[in-house]
């Protein structure tokens, strides 16, 4: 597909025949007019169709963008010229006048004019501002195929016609007439002239030259932007070059080569080149000075109809039978190399220069490489050898060649190298002080050469090798279309291999521990042993990358500089207005080369990524430092922290009271919330705060909120529940004062003040109620007085019978005196550090305050340094990463021309699963165990994977079938999908054995059965198995996620319950236990704890009954009584357990006679508590605890960091992003 000399296709569209094209001068847009009457507006950078304009009738042959206004013009076979606004997406108006097909339309560069060429043999100039026809130029005696203004000289128009001529027209008359008149006199003269001229024929535009030379019709003609040259293309298959002077014009030369009609031609805007396109399906590039062919690009099937150049940048477009292609003629990436503080690069003039990155000075030209390769082919790469101060330059010319040159000490100008060694090869790089490697892709060999250019060894690289890079000492990174190999030059073998598609560049970190592999849309970070650390996807093309000293990769896309941390967390650093190639980051400066090969310095703000890096490394000092010293801690960081589940850290950055309030509520920091609510004082906030405070049991804040909100009813009830009678009385007073009888009644009811209620009823004339109240409370005197007051006797009344009068309970505990004990909110180290800071501690003090974290971070650092181990990093990054669950976006529209037909093996469907899904199970099914583990580690802090092995292998096995195909060959492996209907490879996902439904229906019930039949060991195994299976699983909807969570919780509770009972049984024989008081106590405790986990009622009865029996046996009647009561209150679920209830009733009677415990045990039947799954001891509410992020089992804080006893996989107390089962 690709011609030898590198024409680079940047974009291709598929459509019907493209007849006209125009580049937008500023934006990455191209207009394409089609034979099918549509005009398309494409973004060729993104590869997306922005808009379609469909008002023409029949083919549209000409389009042009206005240089400054949001306008474009089109002309078609409906004889109409239409002017459109692409902002309002409408046709603004139509210019009518032509009597036949319109071939081309162009805007004037300065004047509000349009020139059009038509098959009616005329050229017309129009004013689009007043929408009038200015001039009709006649003279051609056949179709006019093309007419263009001169890009600089406002007075010239050139046209081409099927009458075999090219004409140059002078329109100075027209311009004078229509530009602002100098005086009234002149304008009158003009008016007179105009009339005169019109009567005699047209003097506005006169033919200046008629250029004859083509033997057939001429299809296209263009002016040279600066020189007095014209180029034309004709049906005689020739491209002709013409020159003109003031007085005459003549043919200079002819470019021969097209073997079918030549349809378009133009001058290269910046270089001495001519481009032409023809119906022979070729685009040809000619040397303007020598008129020799430079390149030919051939398409398989499509004839070219039109060619256009971007006015500013190095881009061209050609329209053909099936769409358009946007391309450039050569790579614009300057060859460069960085060594320490020196940047070596090759300029557009092929001069080698260096740039001192420390002093920011550019050296004079060190060398001239004019003679390297062919004149139109820039060098591709540069490799620098500091030991010898020599460079290796490769050029794609002549099928690939390299040159080894020594650099002079000082630049003395553009001298030719005195001595150079050259050879053929596609890539050449230094691999050691005195050795370099040369890849020859055609022969598929790599030669290691010494500096005398002699081959010292030679070997065959893996098939399909396309490029080589330095791979660390003694190693090469060998790039193939689908993989990267780490190749040991000494041993001549691949030591590691990583499947990455289409890698184009490799960038090593400054410490040589990591490398970034750049492909068109992906950045893959690997260690020096080629183990993948992270990978990210960009929709925009990735151009270059460089490492910061701290291990952050900065990379550039077409329009951004972005960063990525080693864990794949990435973001934008700044936008770019033009493409640059990054070479170095230093502090706030990014050094880069632009497309003109000029060194440039970009200013960046590294705060964001430094902060995130500090977060990842738990470097709190650094974080504090950043917070203190950087002005910009923007909204994005706050939302980042918030999203990551660290509102308490985010809280520290926010000043805005509303946001602070939200964050405070989110992290349960009531003090801050109160402070903010007071500041803002809005009812809505108080309501939210009251709800949150209520949930915390912080009733004094609730009280304050209700007071603020004037929620008297709620206040009264709050006082009632907290037993604050004094305040309740005051509430009654307030109610009386307010004259709110409803409220007064309520308060009186709460206070049990009957008299007050009767008094009130009387006040509002509700005597019947007053009487009933009095009667019900036995206040006969009161009754009488009411009767008297209302003039009735008792006989006249018909009263219902009253029950016992209701008296409100009296408070026993003065709850109101203090808040209920709240759960200790565990403060993050960071928060503590910040608090420390607020108290005015110095930085040193803070570091001791946070020493736990500091030491940890340091340890990590040391480990990393010693081992270069990336996983440690991953582990620390758990839960902080935003990017890890994002499925790479699908690339669309862009047609990748370069790799379409590359040979070699592809990646299997199993590899795709990992790409298609963020679920660990899909990674496991695809055999990508490392990434599956990584995901689980981040999601739920999984660290001990051994118990998951069976599940991993099960999932892995289930997804592959073995199809016997040809005799004598191994079976074909195919991949079983759960998405049976799907055939789009970007959406397919593997089948999952034992899914949620299966587990809920089979395994869960088997587990219950074990519980019932007292097979606890087996039960524990089954429930753990359920946990493991659900940990590595996938479901179809959010509802199922909730269901899965339920099953997980149930399985965890059962595991815990059964483990407790098993522990109890392992204490010893009943006799041994009885003999040992300690064991006896433990025995009773465990029996009691067995009743705590939330298992099915029927099973709980078994546990309770067990506990009751144990207690009875040890004469712990009080405990036994509580168990018996619980059994009875649970009732006999379904009758099968009736015997248990019966037994409980009997025991209850026994116990009630002597409700005392013989053995003191640590079991408070009234307290609310959870059981620590490691020590099987209670965690009372209010004490702090740690959790397993997966199954939710609770632990005493001292077990933080151990492996969860329930699931046996996750680390206790490690917070992750949460288990993902559905994407």
């Amino acid at each position: 597909m690709q011609s030898a000399s590198g024409m680079l296709t940047k974009f291709e569209s598929k459509s019907s025949r493209a007849k006209g094209i125009a580049f937008h001068p500023k934006r990455p847009w191209i207009l394409v007019s089609l034979h099918s009457s549509t005009i398309q507006l494409w973004d060729y950078r993104m590869g997306t169709l922005i808009d379609r304009f469909e008002e023409h009738d029949g083919p549209v042959r000409g389009v042009d963008f206005h240089k400054t206004q949001p306008l474009f013009v089109s002309g078609g076979d409906d004889y109409k010229i239409k002017v459109w606004s692409y902002q309002t997406r409408r046709c603004l108006f139509t210019l009518n006048g032509h009597l036949d097909y319109i071939r081309t339309v162009f805007f004037h560069n300065e004047l509000p004019w349009i020139v059009s060429a038509s098959d009616d043999q005329t050229i017309r100039i129009w004013n689009w501002q007043n929408r009038s026809l200015l001039c009709t130029m006649t003279g051609h005696n056949h179709y006019v195929m093309c007419a263009q203004f001169h890009p600089k000289d406002a007075d010239l128009v050139v046209s081409a016609s099927l009458d075999q001529t090219v004409r140059v027209w002078d329109i100075s008359g027209l311009r004078k007439k229509h530009s602002a008149p100098a005086s009234i006199y002149e304008s009158q003269m003009n008016q007179a002239n105009q009339q005169q001229a019109d009567m005699f024929g047209n003097t506005d535009a006169v033919v200046k030259f008629v250029l004859e030379g083509h033997d057939r019709g001429v299809n296209w003609v263009s002016f040279h932007p600066t020189m007095p040259l014209i180029v034309s293309a004709g049906d005689d298959r020739l491209i002709k070059l013409w020159r003109m002077s003031e007085t005459k014009a003549w043919e200079v030369d002819t470019c021969r080569g097209h073997f079918q009609n030549a349809s378009g031609c133009l001058f290269h805007p910046h270089q001495d080149l001519i481009l032409s396109a023809g119906e022979d399906k070729t685009i040809r590039v000619w040397d303007l000075n020598k008129r020799t062919a430079v390149h030919t690009f051939k398409r398989e099937n499509d004839r070219f109809w039109v060619i256009a150049a971007h006015p500013e940048i190095n881009l061209f477009a050609a329209g053909h039978d099936n769409g358009v292609m946007v391309f450039k003629l050569e790579r614009e990436r300057p060859a460069s190399a960085v060594y320490q503080n020196q940047l070596f690069y090759i300029t557009k003039e092929k001069h080698v220069k260096s740039y001192d990155l420390q002093k920011n000075v550019e050296s004079p030209t060190l060398l001239s490489l004019k003679k390297l390769g062919s004149p139109w082919v820039p060098p591709r790469t540069l490799s620098y050898n500091p030991a010898e101060r020599s460079i290796l330059v490769t050029s794609p010319a002549d099928g690939g060649s390299y040159e080894l040159i020594n650099l002079p000490r000082d630049g003395t100008g553009a001298i030719e190298p005195t001595e150079s060694k050259r050879g053929s090869g596609n890539s050449a790089i230094f691999v050691a002080r005195n050795r370099f490697a040369v890849l020859n892709t055609a022969a598929q060999t790599i030669d290691i050469k010494d500096l005398q250019n002699n081959v010292t060894r030679s070997f065959k690289p893996p098939l399909g090798t396309s490029d080589i890079y330095f791979g660390g000492t003694g190693n090469l990174l060998i790039i193939t279309p689908t993989a990267v190999h780490l190749y040991d030059v000494q041993q001549k073998k691949t030591t590691a291999e990583l499947a990455v598609n289409g890698v184009k560049y490799v960038v090593w970190s400054n410490d040589g521990l990591y490398a970034a592999l750049l492909s068109k849309h992906n950045v893959t970070i690997v260690t020096k042993t080629l183990e993948q650390v992270s990978s990210l996807h960009e929709t925009i093309r990735i151009k270059s990358a460089t490492w910061d000293d701290a291990g952050v990769l900065l990379y550039s896309t077409l329009n951004h500089v972005k960063y990525t941390l080693l864990n794949g967390d990435n973001g934008i650093v700044r936008t770019l207005d033009q493409t640059v190639y990054l070479v170095r980051v230093k502090g706030r400066n990014v050094y880069c080369l632009d497309r003109a090969a000029k060194p440039r310095i970009l200013q960046i703000d590294p705060t964001e990524y430094r902060f995130k890096l500090a977060l990842v490394k738990r470097n709190y000092e650094e974080m504090l430092h950043i917070i203190q010293n950087s002005s910009l801690v923007g909204q994005s960081i706050i939302s980042y922290l918030q999203k990551k589940g660290y509102p308490e850290i985010a809280l520290q950055f926010v000043q805005d009271p509303t946001t602070r309030f939200e964050l405070a509520i989110e992290c349960g920091n009531l003090e801050v919330a109160v402070e903010m609510a007071k500041q803002l004082d809005r009812p809505k906030l108080w309501t939210r705060l009251s709800a949150e405070a209520l949930a915390h049991g912080n009733h004094s804040i609730v009280e304050m909120c209700y007071q603020k909100l004037k929620h008297f009813d709620k206040l009264s009830f709050l006082y009632l529940t907290t037993g604050d009678e004094a305040k309740l009385t005051r509430m009654a007073k307030i109610a009386e004062h307010r004259g709110d009888f409803g409220s007064r009644f309520q308060n009186a009811l709460y206070l049990g003040e009957v008299e007050d209620r009767i008094q009130m009823f009387k006040e509002i004339d509700l005597y019947p109620l007053a009487y009933a109240t009095a009667k019900a409370h036995g206040l006969e005197e009161e009754c009488q007085s009411i009767l008297e007051a209302s003039g009735l006797t008792e006989d006249q009344l018909n009263l219902p019978t009253f029950g016992e009068p209701l008296t409100p309970p009296k408070p026993i505990v003065p709850t109101y005196k203090a808040n209920w004990p709240t759960k200790a909110t565990s403060q993050s180290f960071f928060e503590k550090a910040l608090l420390g800071q607020m108290e005015g501690l110095s930085l040193e003090d803070e570091s001791t305050a946070v020493n736990g974290a500091g030491v940890e971070a340091e340890e990590d650092g040391v480990k990393r340094d010693l081992l270069g181990d990336a996983d440690e990093e991953e582990e620390d990054a758990g839960g902080w990463d935003m990017g890890d669950d994002v499925v790479p976006e699908v690339e669309e529209g862009l047609v990748d021309v370069s790799t379409a037909d590359a040979g070699g093996a592809g990646s299997s469907e199993a590899d795709l699963w990992a790409r298609n899904s963020p679920l660990a199970v899909d990674h496991a099914a695809g055999g990508s165990f490392e990434s599956a583990m990584q995901l689980l580690n981040r999601q739920v802090g999984a660290v001990n994977f051994a118990p998951l092995k069976a599940r991993f292998l099960e999932v892995y096995q289930a997804s592959k079938t073995y199809l016997p195909a040809s005799a004598g060959l191994p079976p074909l492996v195919n991949y079983v999908r759960r998405t049976v209907e799907e055939s789009d490879l970007r959406k397919v996902l593997p089948v999952i054995p034992r899914d949620l439904e299966y587990l809920a229906e089979h395994d869960l019930h088997r587990g219950y059965k074990c519980m019932k039949t007292n097979k606890l060991e087996e039960g524990v195994t089954i429930f753990k198995n359920i946990l493991h299976s659900l940990l590595v699983n996938a479901v179809d909807s959010e509802d199922e996620v909730a269901e899965a969570k339920k099953v997980i919780t149930a399985a965890a509770e059962y595991t815990l319950a059964m483990s407790i009972e098993l522990e109890r049984r392992s204490l010893g024989t009943p006799d041994a236990i009885l003999a040992n008081p300690e064991l006896l106590k433990r025995n009773l405790e465990l029996a009691a704890y067995f009743t705590i986990p939330k298992i099915e009622v029927a099973h709980r009865q078994l546990a309770l009954s067990n506990a009751m029996t144990q207690s009875m046996r040890s004469k712990n009647y009080s405990s036994a009584l509580s168990f018996a009561n619980r059994i009875i209150s649970n009732g006999d679920a379904g009758g099968a357990l009736a015997k248990l209830v019966e037994a409980a009733r009997r025991n209850k009677a026994t116990c009630e006679r002597n409700p005392h415990d013989a053995v003191e045990i640590e079991f408070d039947q009234f307290a609310e508590f959870e059981i620590c799954a490691a020590s099987y001891t209670p965690i009372y509410s209010g004490t702090s605890y740690e959790e397993c992020a997966f199954d939710g089992s609770k632990y005493h804080t001292k077990y933080k960091g151990t492996v969860c006893k329930v699931c046996e996989v996750c680390e206790v107390g490690k917070h992750g992003s949460g288990l993902k089962l559905f994407a």
Partner: protein, 294 residues
């Protein structure tokens, strides 16, 4: 005339071979064949015997023969006996100067691919002139390399000139099982038609049918087909392997099949792959550990 075409003499024996009815191929009466077809028929019978596990007999049969076809068969037999290097050596010698002998290409391609030399195999097979056997092999190799795109291309091209040939149908079904979606059902029809007609049924086509059903998510039907296959040949490794997969998918234990497979074909890709993944798991798991131990 092409002896394998619908009117050709070899059509039946050739079809038997590709339907996996190797015994039928061996028992085929070759005495009525015209002389120019005797050698191809013999080659097919030898290949069938090798497929039936009688590689040593086949090797003895062709030892000392001069015809390149039979030398290629010798290589195939060596390959089947595990002498991969020797087999590749023979083929390389045979094809040193390029060859237009279809049998050598096909058998040679098989040997090379079996030895893991895919590129060489493709290079050899690409010299074929309209041989469906070669095309089927090329398709399989592309699929094994996960180049579905190239496999599709190859089949589409072949479909154009060999409309309803058995081999094209088979190759298309192989590709179909890779592509999935609607193609699963189409592949299933092809395999089912072969497997369920007594004249064409073989253990291989039964297993193929089962595989197609597995992909369609119809585990019970797949189970039935596999049972049928195992009844025909209880030691057919692919049947056991797929039954193992089926059991795992159905949430059952696959231990029984696994040990059975270990007994019949210890080098089956499933086992090799599984062992490899088991190591990979241990290696990957070893990178993680809890911060503290209880």
């Amino acid at each position: 005339m092409d002896p394998y075409s619908a009117e050709g003499e070899l059509i039946n024996i050739h079809n038997h071979f590709h339907q996996g009815q190797y015994q039928e191929v061996v028992d085929y009466d070759v005495s009525t064949l015209s002389p120019e077809n005797e050698l191809p028929a013999r080659v097919l019978q030898l290949r069938a015997r090798i497929a039936l596990g009688q590689a040593e007999d086949a090797l003895a049969d062709v030892t000392g023969e001069k015809e390149p076809e039979l030398q290629a068969i010798a290589a195939l037999a060596e390959q089947a006996l595990g002498n991969s290097d020797k087999a590749v050596g023979i083929i390389e010698k045979l094809t040193e100067a390029g060859t237009d002998n279809t049998t050598v290409q096909v058998v040679g391609g098989t040997v090379l691919q079996a030895a893991g030399k895919s590129e060489e195999a493709l290079a050899l097979l690409s010299q074929h002139q309209g041989s469906l056997d070669a095309i089927a092999l090329i398709v399989q190799i592309h699929l094994q390399q996960n180049r579905n795109d190239l496999a599709v291309k190859e089949v589409t091209a072949a479909r154009r000139w060999a409309q309803d040939s058995l081999l094209v149908n088979l190759a298309e079904s192989w590709v179909g099982l890779r592509l999935g979606g609607e193609k699963y059902q189409q592949a299933f029809y092809v395999f089912e038609e072969l497997a369920q007609a007594p004249a064409t049924s073989s253990v291989r086509s039964l297993v193929s049918q089962a595989v197609a059903e597995l992909h369609l998510g119809r585990t019970e039907e797949a189970q039935a087909a596999l049972d049928q296959a195992l009844k025909k040949d209880p030691k057919f490794a692919e049947a056991i392997a797929n039954l193992l997969v089926l059991n795992v998918i159905a949430g059952k234990d696959g231990v029984e099949q696994k040990s059975l497979l270990e007994a019949t074909d210890a080098q089956h890709p499933l086992l090799v792959d599984l062992a490899e993944k088991s190591d990979l798991f241990d290696k990957a798991a070893s990178k993680y550990s809890a911060k503290a131990s209880a």
